[in-house]
């Protein structure tokens, strides 16, 4: 016969105003197996906890039911108190008579009766509970950071500076990401590359960071603290150890007309190339899709001119595996291309460009060396129109969200244009100006008031070309919806920020959830913004949602702290609320028949196969399922799938749950 204690909390008036707590305690005292029952005003207070501790000792209780608020609030509190009094913490259950009862019903006998029923259910459950031990999982103290933009760079540096090893992988030939493409940054107009490149160099030189560029994650197995990452190192076709980065090959390469990704198609690059002068590592790769050697079997000029014989045409992709304890996703974002917009010419007008292309035009390292010249004929545009919210906040375009960065960079673009073309005329069409950030509003006012940018509140219905001009037809909603028509030389679309290419595929590979727009989902939008729902995988930057540089860096540091926090523990302690396959003495071993329905049902890949072997002959007697305690999240899907009822949830076994439900249904 068990000895159970029942402790009914008044929660001030939260419970006591509608539930007769004293009656609940008195009734519970008469339940089978209940040794002691009482009520108290605040059970979570120190005296309340002491009440529980003393009762455990005095009455030698082997189970405790605290009838109070939701277990999400104080279950840890009460379990800790029990544990301090010598009771296994998992022998303490919380009966939720606040959220499930007092808060949602009127004062009355029925409400008190419901509270009694809830308590009876938990008493029945706790009398069948088993003591459980927390799970300890070792941690590999090395992090994998995916993506080498500013988010990945910041996260890597912060983790590395905390003393842990970092593997940073980047799919492009250089780290730097979008930030390396930007001209100046708002709201201070400091040069993007000037503030970024020192960090890129720091990454390359940091003793704790191993950098793999031109590399992608192939596969991730394992669980928090114990991941195994397989990384594909794409063939660069050069021997990096031998290459000195002299650049002779890139100057001699005859294939020179490949649209440069770094310059957003506004400039060209060669087939063997370094994406930009400050690239890290500053060593070229061969783009096999455009190289004459790979495509037609000719040329080989780079191989001939290379003074160190670093060109290796025969190189293949290679794979490495790394054990890591945590993963930071920092895969960034992209912007829509102009061809998404039929009303703005469907990408057929050369002088309708994206904001990112404008960055390249305004950048000293760009195709025009920082002069604003239109792509079609290289002329300096005298009239320029910026269209904010191109795609964003437009459910008809499938993008209801705000891309967040456009208001600010559009103000910056217009400002840069006015600084470079003094007699030029710039117009910004906007829906609202969202300038919430430190010194952001002041920055926009500066564009309007000091630099004379013409801000028009209204949408642009259409852009079409006529006699070498782009006719921009919009509306000024602040002037009574007056139609506005501007003959512009160039139009810049602040196109919506979207998830990066391959985001969905990567999310599925990592079992990380994502939103309908393929941005990775955080575990909680407010309180767990840099964690994913998969333990040990964290988010940094714009792979989660469009973010500007300050927010990205803050998120990256946040993710790094989460990783460092994880690595600061000797091992990982997890609640033992996980599934378990039953085991029995020979010759049955387990009722599991090895159908592995559970394996297909498990969303966390936590089901493994265990071979039961004859001790003498080593022959396999049967193969049964085994739950990996590190991976199992205790969702219980396998339990409902199991045909032979061989899997049960620890702490929520079928027996425990049925007993609770049956007790609830009793009159």
């Amino acid at each position: 016969m068990s000895k159970i204690g029942v402790f009914v909390c008044h929660c001030g008036e939260n419970i006591a105003a509608t539930v007769d707590c004293e009656k609940v305690a008195n009734t519970a005292a008469k339940f089978d197996g209940v040794e002691f029952a009482t009520d108290y005003k605040y059970m979570c207070s120190d005296p309340g906890q002491n009440l529980i501790k003393n009762a455990i000792k005095e009455h030698h209780l082997d189970g405790v039911v605290v009838a109070s608020c939701s277990p999400r609030m104080h279950e840890p509190t009460f379990r800790k108190a029990c544990s301090e009094a010598g009771l296994n913490p998992f022998m303490c259950e919380v009966a939720n008579i606040r959220e499930h009862c007092s808060w949602v019903h009127e004062k009355g006998d029925a409400t008190t009766q419901k509270a009694i029923d809830i308590v009876r259910g938990l008493v029945e459950k706790v009398s069948r509970d088993h003591p459980l031990e927390s799970i300890h999982v070792p941690i590999t103290k090395k992090a994998l950071v995916i993506g080498g933009g500013i988010a990945g760079i910041q996260a890597s540096l912060d983790i590395a500076n905390a003393g842990h090893k970092v593997i940073l992988i980047e799919r492009d030939p250089s780290i730097g990401g979008h930030m390396s493409q930007l001209s100046e940054t708002f709201p201070t107009l400091d040069c993007s590359q000037c503030i970024l490149t020192p960090r890129m160099v720091e990454v390359a030189q940091h003793p704790n960071i191993t950098l793999y560029t031109y590399a992608e994650l192939e596969k991730l197995e394992g669980f928090i603290g114990n991941f195994k990452a397989t990384i594909r190192l794409k063939a660069k076709s050069i021997d990096e150890d031998v290459c000195t980065g002299c650049g002779t090959c890139t100057t001699k390469c005859p294939t020179k007309k490949i649209p440069s990704e770094f310059n957003q198609g506004l400039g060209n690059r060669t087939a063997i190339y370094v994406p930009f002068p400050q690239a890290v590592p500053n060593k070229p790769v061969i783009d096999k899709d455009h190289c004459l050697h790979y495509q037609k079997g000719v040329c080989g000029l780079c191989e001939k001119v290379c003074p160190t014989h670093a060109i290796h045409f025969g190189q293949d992709d290679s794979f490495i595996t790394e054990d890591v304890g945590a993963v930071v996703l920092a895969t960034g974002f992209n912007v829509l291309n102009t061809d998404f917009f039929p009303e703005y010419g469907y990408g057929k007008y050369k002088d309708v460009i994206t904001g990112l292309q404008f960055e390249r035009l305004a950048s000293a390292s760009g195709p025009t060396s920082g002069e604003i010249r239109r792509p079609s004929d290289g002329k300096i545009p005298q009239k320029i129109v910026f269209i904010a919210c191109a795609g964003s906040r437009d459910p008809a375009k499938g993008i209801p969200y705000c891309s967040k960065i456009c208001c600010m960079y559009t103000a910056k673009h217009a400002m840069l244009y006015q600084h470079k073309v003094h007699d030029g005329e710039s117009t910004v069409f906007y829906m609202d100006i969202r300038a919430a950030g430190k010194n952001y509003e002041e920055f926009v006012r500066r564009a309007i008031e000091e630099d004379g940018v013409n801000y028009v509140r209204g949408r642009v219905a259409r852009v079409y070309e006529k006699d070498g001009k782009l006719i921009v037809k919009g509306v000024d909603t602040l002037l009574g919806a007056k139609p506005v028509e501007i003959e512009a030389d160039m139009v810049v679309l602040a196109t919506a920020g979207v998830a990066n290419a391959g985001a969905e595929e990567l999310a599925q590979k990592l079992h990380v959830s994502y939103d309908p727009y393929h941005f990775f989902a955080e575990a909680h939008p407010k309180l767990r913004p840099v964690e994913t729902n998969t333990a040990g995988i964290y988010l940094a930057g714009a792979c989660q949602a469009p973010k500007d540089i300050p927010d990205t860096v803050a998120a990256a540091s946040g993710a790094a702290v989460k990783v460092a926090g994880l690595f600061s523990q000797p091992d990982l302690v997890r609640e033992p609320i996980i599934a378990k396959v039953n085991r029995m003495p020979p010759p049955v071993f387990s009722t599991c028949v090895g159908c592995f329905m559970c394996e297909t049902a498990c969303p966390y890949n936590a089901i493994e196969r265990e071979e039961i072997k004859d001790r003498r002959s080593g022959k396999v007697i049967k193969t049964i399922a085994k739950v990996n305690p590190g991976l199992c999240q205790g969702c219980g899907t396998c339990v409902s799938f199991c045909r032979s009822k061989s899997i049960d949830m620890q702490g929520f076994s079928n027996e425990e749950m049925f007993a609770e439900v049956q007790a609830l249904l009793e009159d």
């Binding site: 039929p342 009303e343 259409r462 079409y464 006529k466 006719i471």
Partner: protein
């Protein structure tokens, strides 16, 4: 092949030539159009700006008649009728109470299952494969395909073509040997029903359309809407008053262009009825 047919008022009046050309090409391409018996006006602009219930009941009755007469698909050449019928079907499908109210008012059973096609959709669905073999004299002209407002909007309901930059007529014109030009006014408003009350506005709006088409070298404007046609064609003297120099490029229905390509006569296609003479 048989298909239901709802002419609407315009095709019996100001745009008889649209009706004639639709009938003529369908006959030539072996499509039998079965007119809905006892059809009524769809309510057009008047009803839906004055009385919502009426603006739904009138098209609903047309759809109910089509159902009653065993039609599962109807062709509606007039863009405005097409729009009103489609909007009615959509609104009734999404509001049970409204549907009941309208059904009670018209006193006919209504399911809302009839598929509504405009002329372009009918051509795309049934005639794209048939036309090339029948082309006797290629329609070798540079033309501006003008879609106007009602064929493509609201996109959520009509779900026809690319709303900002429709292509369907351009494709048909290419198919019969023509060259659709790229221009900026494909879906701009012609002034529509203001034709009568504010002819000055219609002249101004339609002038933009005609001028851009002519400036870009179009030898004709191709339409699939009686309202667009009458504004660009019948109101041409008013348009020319607004313009610096008069423009005399004709306005043809898409069905007339196809008719010319498959060798039908000017009279069969009603081309002699236009205000701006057709000399192609």
């Amino acid at each position: 092949m048989k298909i239901g047919f709802y002419p609407g008022c315009s095709l019996k009046g100001t745009s008889r030539e649209y009706n004639e050309s639709v009938q003529a090409i369908c006959k030539a391409l072996d499509v039998e159009l079965v007119t809905i018996k006892d059809w009524n006006c769809c309510g057009a602009t008047a009803a839906h700006s004055m009385n919502r219930a009426l603006s739904l009941a009138l098209p609903a009755r047309v759809l109910a008649l089509a159902e009653q007469q065993g039609m599962d698909e109807i062709v509606v050449p007039c863009a405005s009728c097409y729009n009103r019928l489609s909007v009615t079907q959509y609104e009734l499908a999404n509001d049970e109470n409204l549907k009941k109210e309208v059904v009670d008012a018209m006193g006919l059973p209504y399911e809302g299952k009839v598929r509504i096609l405009n002329v372009i959709q009918m051509i795309e669905k049934y005639l794209l494969d048939v036309i090339p073999a029948k082309v006797t004299s290629k329609f070798e002209h540079a033309v501006a395909c003008y879609y106007g407002c009602l064929l493509v909007r609201p996109h959520k309901i009509l779900n026809f073509d690319r709303v900002e930059d429709p292509q369907s007529m351009d494709r048909i014109i290419s198919l019969i040997g023509g060259t659709p030009i790229d221009w900026g006014f494909k879906t701009e408003c012609c002034g529509a029903g203001l034709s009568v009350s504010r002819t000055d506005l219609v002249a101004k709006l339609s002038a933009n359309i005609v001028k851009d088409a002519a400036d870009r070298g179009a030898k004709a404007i191709i339409v699939a809407c009686p309202m667009c046609h009458s504004n660009l064609d019948m109101r041409r003297p008013d348009i020319n008053e607004v313009l610096d120099s008069p423009i005399d490029i004709p306005v043809l229905y898409i069905t007339q262009a196809i008719g010319l390509a498959i060798g039908l006569s000017v009279e069969e296609l009603g081309l002699q009825r236009h205000f701006v003479k057709v000399n192609l």
